[in-house]
Point group: C2
Chain length 344, copies 2
């Protein structure tokens, strides 16, 4: 049905070995022969069967991308970055979503990617350190994104410092009752961002001489809905916050809507700062912490592909990159209304 390497060999009057070499740009092929092979291949619209070639070459030319889910802004951007450089380097990308039955544990149990990918980008580190260690031990090249691990190169943010940036901005404006929407995850080893950001929040409060009020720290599930629910709880309290640090822009957006629905104004009654710099945030005027998600994906892919390249020396030391974040002040933060009281 479709041409095989033998067809090309016949058409070019050479052996299949020569076709293979010529097509892959290997040395020791006479220029004239190579030209003839190339012509024949393109004439026959020949494309090497990836399965055959991967079986023979013992490399899949595929990198796996393990993430908790697709469909959110963050993961889509990440995917986009990874995909771009992976494709540019001639690899395929194979997404693994942890959402299905069994999730992470089944993923590790069945190792569905075994023999299927040359390397793995693990996002939000849905794996325990020892699980990661086992993988690395099994010879799987991998880089983690979102959680630092000692066993493999990683790309992270300084979440604690970033949170300090956000919260200090708020305390600097005079806020004293500061809430955080984020939440402690089930397992800090798997997704450390919320706990680190919470630490930064506490840091900043301490620096401003404020004692953290545990009722002002509510989980938001990193979703619009979760942010809205969290804000509802905050507003329902006896002494609501004048400022909120949401650990994602989506939670911030959900929360702001609740604020407005309650007849309050942002930032007059409640200041809001998010995290991510979601595409829409600029258009909503949301003050936020910017991170370059696509760039992180690109970087992770590049790192992994570097790992896959034949290392002509000792095993390289794992790289740990901490990507920058930046406070973007827009229009959802301002001094607390009560500061006027204090002045008066």
């Amino acid at each position: 049905m479709s041409a095989s390497i033998e067809d090309v060999a016949r058409a070019a009057s050479v052996s299949v070995a020569t076709v293979s070499r010529a097509l892959r740009g290997l040395p020791n092929v006479a220029p004239s022969t190579r030209a003839r092979v190339l012509a024949a291949a393109s004439e026959l619209r020949y494309v090497a069967d990836p399965h055959a070639s991967r079986l023979a070459a013992r490399r899949s030319l595929t990198i796996g991308l393990a993430l908790p889910m697709i469909g959110t802004w963050y993961h889509a951007k990440l995917f986009s970055g990874v995909e771009a450089v992976v494709a540019a380097n001639g690899y395929d990308v194979l997404p693994f979503t942890m959402a299905g039955t069994g999730g992470v544990d089944r993923f590790l149990e069945d190792l569905p990617f075994r023999k299927r990918v040359d390397g793995l980008v693990v996002v939000d580190a849905p794996l325990h350190p020892d699980q990661l260690g086992r993988l690395v031990g099994a010879g799987v090249a991998l880089v983690t994104l979102g959680l630092r691990s000692e066993q493999a190169p990683s790309i992270t943010l300084d979440n604690r410092a970033a949170a300090r940036l956000a919260v200090s901005h708020l305390t600097g404006l005079g806020h004293r009752r500061l809430a955080i929407i984020g939440g402690v995850p089930d397992d800090p080893f798997r997704f450390s961002a919320p706990v680190d950001r919470h630490r930064g929040y506490v840091d900043s409060l301490a620096a401003a001489g404020i004692t953290p009020d545990p009722t002002l720290a509510v989980p938001g599930n990193f979703s619009l809905e979760g942010g809205a629910e969290a804000m509802q709880r905050l507003l329902g309290a006896s002494d609501p916050p004048t400022a909120v640090f949401a650990c994602s822009d989506e939670m911030a957006i959900g929360a702001m809507q609740v604020v407005r629905d309650a007849g309050l104004r942002v930032p007059r009654d409640v200041s809001m700062v998010g995290f991510d710099d979601h595409d829409v945030s600029a258009y909503l005027g949301l003050t936020t912490i910017r991170q370059d998600v696509t760039g992180q994906g690109e970087r992770a892919a590049r790192l992994l592909i570097g790992l896959l390249a034949p290392t002509d020396g000792a095993t390289p030391v794992p790289v740990h990159e901490v990507h920058p974040t930046r406070l973007i002040v827009r229009h959802t933060t301002g001094p607390p209304a009560r500061s006027a009281d204090r002045l008066g």
Copy 2:
């Protein structure tokens, strides 16, 4: 390094053929034998090498997903839907992005997916009808999403009717100067939504006795930035619209920000209706046309997998599904301010 089928065969004291049969649940294997093989396989943590098995079985158990890009809300949701059902059916999904060098044409030229996927979901039909025809002729199972094609099953929206829904809502409120942000694409064969929605817009104007003003139809590139730029142009005109139909929520969001930056209010000065029902739209109170993007992705995948299943009869007639849309009225639409003038 990792167990092969021979290792399992040896451990279970049977031939590799029996192992293969036992593991794949084929008939004609004695229950006791099957149990023994299963035990051995799990003991050795055996997983069949996908490349070998795909080469031998001549099917890749992979479905390709060709889309213009990842990273936007729409495509991420679609991806999410496709991925879920594809994974549930034991297939892998291999994304192909058209963004890179050459884009669609190179994609078709090299047919990079040839021999690599069993079927293809083509999103936003980046292919000409005759290109699609060639693919189908070449035996590639495919379903298109976003553009109806006669050669293959398709999943579409009735974009024209949906646009009528949106625009009639606006005319019903009394608007007479109605803009549309969407734009005519380079090639209506590749992405027909904008032209169909424009038709629906014209329909509704006609029904309301309004002559379309070509200066009120501006392209917006289906992006936040594009929406903003479009709105800038509309506002800069001598007689700006009192209502805008944006062909995507993202364009609507970009446009609304420009409206507000100009010191105008939504919906008092400008009504806005979007298209998609983006996750954030509910939180922004955006009136919009809802479509179930994830559901469309799921459906496309299901259709394709059905196509792949052994057809024990004549070639099935291509299914053309038109998925529903619905107008969701929220808070960005209202009667035009000037309607008061008319009353007065």
